[in-house]
Symmetry: C2
Subunit: 212 residues, 2 copies
């Protein structure tokens, strides 16, 4: 494939039950911005595109739902989280998406064992400077956890849950690496050795809830 | 949450059956690079982190599996695709991950209707300059399609399938926007109005295979 035609990764799409809950969650807890939305009332679905904005853009995003935000969406550099809402699911008490982490490929005594489906999608992940502090703050703010950083045998890694029960991994990055007032080229030159995966490498067998 | 502690989206994780097939697929067809790998033989799994490299990095990635690639992985700006391989699944003829796109929330006469699970994860997406040309080339190269760009009623959008059957959407971007020899700041200034979603907006009801 010619270089100029090279594909760029633009989105990861997850279906959600209630856009109000999800948009508030990702905005409040992960600083994600709604960069554009499409509404298709005739087909009863809406699409919400969220970005964790890069530094220079954070104050200058056009209002979602405008031609400018549409342009931004399809010309931005980053990868978006596309949340798809099929209208009505928020009023259906039986509606609960499958997070991808329960399946028959787990041991039968695992709390996540489930017949009839093999696990596929696992999680999205954010890196943060301090997994413990971030997790404590998230929990204080009411966020549910699949695994706190001091639980299990993979210390320092955490999985919280979004409103639909999708797993969100929290992974440590070096402090100061991505402060908001750094631009991309500056940040790129700043990396330093990372130790988070060392403990992961030397930890004993993971709990079922941590099983890949 | 303090600005300096702001999370960054680092990965989307998908479980795969066979890393050889998946790595070759994403490298060959989507120019994704393996930026780092972790092997955990004691726990029988491996992790492969793939990136669609940004221009300046494409020639300078450190060899995967080194300390340098580990540093790069946890300090890079972009979002990675993390492929998780639980050892042995490649030899298990019954192993086939659930792509997230079959479910009981679809009409019962849909070919994707499936009892017992509600659709969650949908797809990852790449944007390309020419969805038709890219799709034709991919199909010539043996890639399977869920929906070709001229099929269904959402013309111009395509979904191909990766080796595990995960859906990969192909979405049009403006020509010349992300040529490989442009750097980030240059590319950012180049966006022009986009029309791809116009036809999407005005198209009649989607086929079941396109249903969100």
């Amino acid at each position: 494939m010619a270089a100029a035609a090279a594909p760029r990764w633009q989105q990861t799409m997850l279906r959600i039950k209630d856009p109000k809950a999800s948009l508030e969650f990702y905005k409040k807890h992960f600083n994600m911005q709604l960069v554009h939305r499409y509404d298709f009332p005739q087909w009863k679905f809406s699409l919400y595109f969220l970005e964790r904005p890069r530094d220079k853009d954070i104050e200058s995003l056009p209002p979602p739902g405008t031609k400018e935000s549409e342009q931004y969406l399809w010309s931005m550099q980053g990868t978006t989280l596309e949340l798809t809402h099929n209208h009505g699911s928020e009023h259906d008490p039986t509606f609960s998406v499958w997070s991808g982490n329960q399946g028959s490929d787990l041991p039968k005594d695992s709390p996540l064992y489930r017949e009839g489906v093999i696990r596929g999608f696992g999680h999205i992940a954010f890196n943060v400077e301090d997994v413990y502090a971030t997790s404590a703050q998230l929990e204080k703010d009411g966020v549910r956890f699949q695994k706190r950083p001091d639980e299990g045998r993979m210390k320092g890694l955490a999985f919280c849950l979004d409103p639909d029960g999708y797993w969100i991994e929290l992974v440590k990055r070096d402090e100061g690496l991505f402060a908001e007032n750094q631009n991309l080229s500056q940040a790129h030159a700043l990396y330093t050795p990372l130790t988070v995966l060392r403990s992961f490498l030397h930890a004993p067998l993971a709990l079922p809830t941590e099983s890949p």
